[in-house]
Symmetry: C2
Subunit: 230 residues, 2 copies
DNA sequence: TAAGTGTAGATTGTCAACAATACACGATTC
DNA sequence: GAATCGTGTATTGTTGACAATCTACACTTA
């Protein structure tokens, strides 16, 4: 037999990770409000599993920082302050700058592959902008940046960025429809792509810095209108 | 009552985190050999707890990447390849560069506090170098860099770096006594401290880059003599 | 009325037993 | 003799029950 391929390996990944991934997706989609307690029994039965595996998954998300655990109290979904927003985007900037440098140091084939993927994402983004599907836009926004970092092939950088992406989506979620002007959003991503294609290091670095700075400004501009705590 | 202060809060932190911290320390001290399977029952009784809490702790360390979980097989201690070493130090460089920039953007008091701490660590390091206590040197080495990043106050950056520090100690552990020439090690840290005190941005950046580059060279120089896989 | 106290309910923390899976070793067959 | 098959053992995965803790609310008391 050549290879079992898709022959029901029935999820080779460990259970806790599967549950954690499901739960993370639920959280970034806003299925839980910030600061809300996560009820273990309820969630376990909802995900049709037991409390044991669920708790293991919760611990993973606590380690990520998406959930916070208080002894004998339970776990709660992270509440984002403006301080948190600044932190998150500062780290994102650091990671993306590192990714940019790594990419520009790598062979052009790898860069080309990444550019192809980014181009497709931008196309989809423009499509969703036309449809004003904010949830989809937020997803594609992070998908763009995740793909950018994934282009480096640095698994640790990628893992770190996955967490940052989740937290960013939680930030954006708080903004809700108050997403900044959208044409600018697409344009900024387009710009990053072009600098990468042109292999313009300093241009790419500046574009990333601007993009992050703008994002922080948008997210911290009207704290009273959002769920983000002062 | 003014404040209960140290009045037996009896570990407010969640259990899984406590166990995870213990276990992480055991791992970076080399209590387990790379690639070794972690036996749940044995470890649980050894740490005088049950399998439940222990498994939760293991999941945390899996999320960090210090352990790897294989379904229906168990969790194993991370085996480091030269590729891993390169990844780890690339991310460390990114994080420390970001920390450097953040520090130099902050007020001088914060920088002064950090410098004071770093100076003390270097003193201790020189002491241990005289005693040739490699285990202690490795600990102080990472303590220096952790303190450097902690100076930023960015909790996410700090958390990320804690994992990187653990992985770095696992790298150094593989090197064992083959630590590079020690006078240079102290000197390099001293240099970083001086650039920080002088608030010399580009000098500090270059020093960090050199430090990381040297470390990778040392760690990947003689792969046959170490436990690091090709 | 306001502060403090005690109880009830709910939720988390822990544990031990059960089920399922994978690995190792010996038996069997060609 | 080599490969394959079947069995046994050890380890992980899962579950439900029990214990400990916290929050909320009604009750008492100054």
């Amino acid at each position: 037999m050549a290879a079992p391929e898709g022959m029901f390996v029935l999820e080779g990944r460990p259970t806790a990770q599967l549950i954690a991934d499901q739960l993370r997706e639920l959280i970034v989609q806003g299925a839980f409000s910030p600061g809300q307690q996560v009820n273990e029994s309820a969630l376990a039965s909802q995900l049709s599993t037991s409390r044991g595996p669920l708790r293991e998954a919760l611990q993973r998300l606590c380690q990520e920082g998406i959930l916070v655990s208080k002894r004998n109290r339970g776990v709660f979904v992270l509440e984002l302050s403006t301080q948190d927003v600044k932190e998150i985007y500062a780290v994102r900037e650091a990671v993306e700058l590192a990714a940019a440098n790594t990419l520009l140091d790598s062979d052009s084939e790898q860069v080309a592959d990444t550019c192809r993927e980014l181009k497709g994402i931008i196309r989809n983004m423009a499509k969703q902008v036309a449809a004003s599907d904010w949830q989809a836009i937020a997803r594609l926004d992070m998908q763009f940046h995740t793909a950018f970092v994934s282009g480096t092939g640095n698994t640790r950088l990628i893992r770190i960025y996955e967490t940052l992406a989740a937290e960013s989506r939680m930030c954006i979620l708080s903004l809700e429809v108050a997403y900044p002007r959208i044409d600018v959003l697409v344009q900024e991503h387009q710009q990053i792509l072009e600098f990468l294609e042109a292999r313009d290091r300093s241009g790419l670095q500046q574009a990333i810095k601007r993009h992050m700075q703008k994002a922080v400004e948008d997210l911290t501009a009207s704290p009273e209108a959002t769920g983000i705590t002062a």
